[in-house]
């Protein structure tokens, strides 16, 4: 017999003693009857129901917890992005400032003053002696340095871009990977 059939089959229930006219008593009696009916369900069926219910609760709880976890991480990552962007902005400003400060320290006036203070004097034509070095041809062309290109894309990091579903997919795929064989 299936559980459903067992549940549908009415069983004789012992009736509580009644006192005619007492409605409260009747209600209590009805509740007691229901309880007895439930108690009469076989224990294994009760366990199955409870297990199924608990499993459902755990599943809902897990998904909820996971969702909250991912959402909170997303929020933290968002704030981290904001902080990093602020840091980048401050860094760029500081960098520009320092470059200009260096340029000021190395400015023509500043270098000339330092050179004169150090005892150097401007060279004159008559002070220069030219020596012919066989086989040496000085490079005269103008050369400049090309600054490196900035390529620091925060979005490349999965920490800042992964959705819940893609995270789950990745976890499942990682878990289902065969273990590495040792040789």
């Amino acid at each position: 017999m299936t559980i459903l059939a067992e549940l549908k089959t009415p069983k004789p229930q012992p009736q509580p003693e009644t006192k005619p006219g007492s409605k409260a008593y009747q209600a209590v009696a009805e509740a007691v009857g229901t309880l007895r009916q439930y108690q009469d369900i076989p224990l294994r069926f009760q366990k199955q129901w409870i297990t199924a219910f608990l499993a459902l609760m755990i599943l809902v709880g897990t998904v909820g917890g996971l969702y909250l976890n991912v959402v909170s991480r997303t929020v933290i990552a968002g704030r981290e992005i904001q902080t990093l962007q602020d840091d980048i902005s401050v860094g760029q400003n500081t960098n520009a400032d320092l470059q200009t400060q260096i340029a000021t320290l190395l400015s023509n006036d500043s270098l000339q003053a330092r050179a004169l203070a150090a005892g150097y004097v401007p060279i004159k034509n008559e002070d220069i002696g030219y020596i012919t070095v066989p086989g040496y041809f000085p490079q005269q062309d103008m050369t400049t340095v090309t600054p490196p290109t900035e390529n620091t894309d925060l979005s490349l990091s999965s920490d800042f871009s992964e959705s819940l579903s893609s995270w789950l997919t990745r976890q499942i795929e990682t878990a289902s990977l065969p273990l590495a064989q040792e040789h």
């Binding site: 400015s107 023509n108 600054p147």
Partner: protein
């Protein structure tokens, strides 16, 4: 039992009814007019527009010395509702920033209706901002009760402004950036759109769930100039000295590489500390004065004879040894052209003609060529046309043409020795590059390369035209060098063979009549003649020292070239030839 069930059903019915009512109410609220306004409001406060500034590109000299960069300054402002102690704020801003105490106190105690935030100063330097920040945090830590001293409400927002480490060095070339971040004059104006980059407006979410990486806004392009800082500095020193020694009202010196058209130095007086550009109005009367080398046109006088002689040689009318009898005057268009000293110079060849700078000779040559040939050559040399140098406010100059209604035959005579024609210094140099560069006239430029997003774009050497043949160019160069040496010019530099020509030009007044007491004096030369590496133009306006360029402009040219050959590492001709002979 039955009545209990019916009551339970009744209660259940009411519960269902209540639930339904809630659902209906939820749907109704979601679709109400108020909901729409709430949604709009929500969107408004959830997203905000932010402007991503684009850092202005830097300007370097050819050896990557920074000539223009950026530095951080702070906007200091007050969020009115956050102010706890108006007196402290007003007093501190008065002490640190020199702001009016009463004005700020009034603002804080009686803020205008609807006012939320007020900017006190947009350009506070980092040191003063640090001072304010330190005071603010000190008071915050120390005082916590109502009425205690507090700088709450003060806000600091960093942003960048232009900075010029070398102050006035190359100021005529660089120009400056104003408070609205717009380039004015020189490179800053000419390349403003490239340097400034493009500020981006982006929508930024306040909801951290929606935050994504902000789009990158690349900075403006960096520019590498052809200017050599050391040569520029030397030229500016010599210019100031020259102006002072000669009593000139203004002066201009330009150094160019005649093979490429690259400007190595360009200076004119007066100059300005670019960090303090608010003094522009005090220093310059007109915009053209900012860079006289490009923006001012003048009657060139005798340096123009270089072009007339080139045209005559190239057209085959004369050769260097051709002679003529100088009688001291030459009639043309009903007017007698006379020499600068009103004397007759007898039999002269073409070198003597250049050496003694004879107007009679030039008028004869122009007449010999005829107006069509002469003006065709002048147009080929670019006289009367802009060179399109990459600097702002270029003067075009003016050359009358036989097609003009006010042209007459006498103009042919006077134009031949540089009167009745106006040019800018850069125009004159550009024309002369043809002589120094085997007949090829090159495009003058100040920007060597543009660096943007890691790519470097180099300005190529551009040939503007070939007004004369290589042979004619070499011939005229040698004639000029011979003339300098024969005349024992003060422009000569020991060890170096240099070609060049003086120019002394009378200055026409507002009525068009030449002022007999005032002249513009110039010298243009290049060298070494057999392999020109530099071309120098010196122009002194209204000098008091002498009436003749040979005593004013030539010595300045000499001083500049003497130092230039050291800075450019150009050995004397004999040593250079030894090196070439290896």
């Amino acid at each position: 039992m039955k009545s209990f069930q019916s009551r339970a059903n009744l209660i259940a019915f009411f519960f269902v009814l209540g639930a339904l009512a809630i659902v209906i109410q939820v749907v109704r609220i979601q679709n109400s007019k108020e909901a729409d306004s709430f949604r709009t409001w929500g969107k408004e406060i959830m997203w905000q527009y932010e402007t991503l500034p684009s850092e202005r590109g830097k300007i370097f000299d050819q050896h990557m010395h920074m000539l223009a960069g950026n530095k951080v300054v702070y906007e200091v402002g007050i969020t009115l509702k956050d102010v706890k102690n108006a007196n402290t704020v007003a007093m501190t801003l008065n002490t640190v920033l020199g702001k009016d105490y009463k004005e700020i106190l009034d603002l804080l105690t009686n803020p205008p209706a609807g006012a939320v935030y007020r900017v006190i100063d947009q350009y506070v330097d980092a040191d003063k901002t640090k001072q304010l920040k330190d005071l603010q945090s000190l008071m915050k830590d120390k005082y916590r009760n109502d009425g205690d001293p507090s700088l709450a409400g003060l806000g600091f927002y960093a942003h960048q402004i232009r900075s010029y480490p070398d102050k006035s060095l190359a100021s005529n070339v660089i120009g400056f950036v104003n408070l609205n971040n717009q380039g004015n004059y020189g490179i800053e104006q000419k390349y403003d759109s490239l340097l400034a980059g493009v500020p981006k407006q982006v929508l930024v979410p306040k909801d951290p769930n929606l935050i994504t990486e902000m789009p990158k806004n690349p900075s403006g392009a960096d520019l590498i100039l052809t200017i050599d800082r050391d040569i520029q500095s030397m030229v500016e020193t010599e210019l100031k000295k020259g102006v002072q020694d000669t009593g000139a009202t203004a002066g201009t010196i330009v150094v160019m590489d005649p093979r490429t058209g690259a400007i190595l130095a360009m200076a004119s007086t007066p100059q300005m500390d670019l960090n303090d550009y608010t003094k522009f109005g005090e220093i310059y009367k007109t915009a053209g004065e900012f860079n006289r080398a490009v923006s001012v046109q003048f009657e060139p006088g005798s340096i123009f004879k270089i072009l007339t002689m080139s045209a005559a040689i190239d057209s085959g009318r004369v050769v260097p040894s051709s002679t003529y009898l100088d009688t001291g005057f030459y009639p043309i268009g009903g007017v007698n052209i006379v020499n600068w000293d009103h004397n007759a110079w007898g039999v002269q060849d073409m070198v003597g003609c250049l050496q003694h700078s004879l107007n009679v000779c030039m008028a004869r040559l122009a007449d010999l060529m005829g107006q069509n040939t002469f003006y065709t050559y002048m147009r080929r040399f670019g006289i009367g046309y802009a060179t399109n140098i990459d600097l702002s406010n270029e003067a075009i100059g003016h050359l009358k043409d036989p097609a003009d209604t006010d042209w007459s035959k006498v103009d042919l005579g006077t134009n031949s020795f540089g009167q009745g024609v106006s040019v800018s210094p850069i125009q004159m140099m550009t024309a002369a590059t043809a002589l120094a560069n085997d007949g090829k006239m090159v495009y003058p430029h100040v920007v060597y390369a543009m660096v943007s997003n890691g790519s470097e774009h180099i300005t190529p050497t551009q040939i503007l035209g070939t007004p004369i043949s290589p042979q004619s160019a070499r011939t005229v160069s040698n004639m000029l060098a011979d003339a300098l040496q024969a005349g024992q010019s003060l422009a000569n530099v020991k060890g170096y063979r240099i070609a060049g020509k003086t120019g002394t030009a009378s200055i026409p007044g507002p009525d068009g009549v030449y002022d007999p007491n005032l002249t513009n004096q110039s010298f243009m030369g290049w060298g070494p003649v057999d392999d020109p590496k530099f071309m120098v133009f010196v122009w002194m306006e209204r000098p008091l020292k002498s009436d003749w360029a040979s005593y004013v402009a030539s010595p300045i040219f000499h001083d500049v070239v003497q130092k230039l050959v050291v800075l450019m590492d150009i050995p004397p001709d004999d040593i250079r030839k030894q090196l070439l002979g290896q």
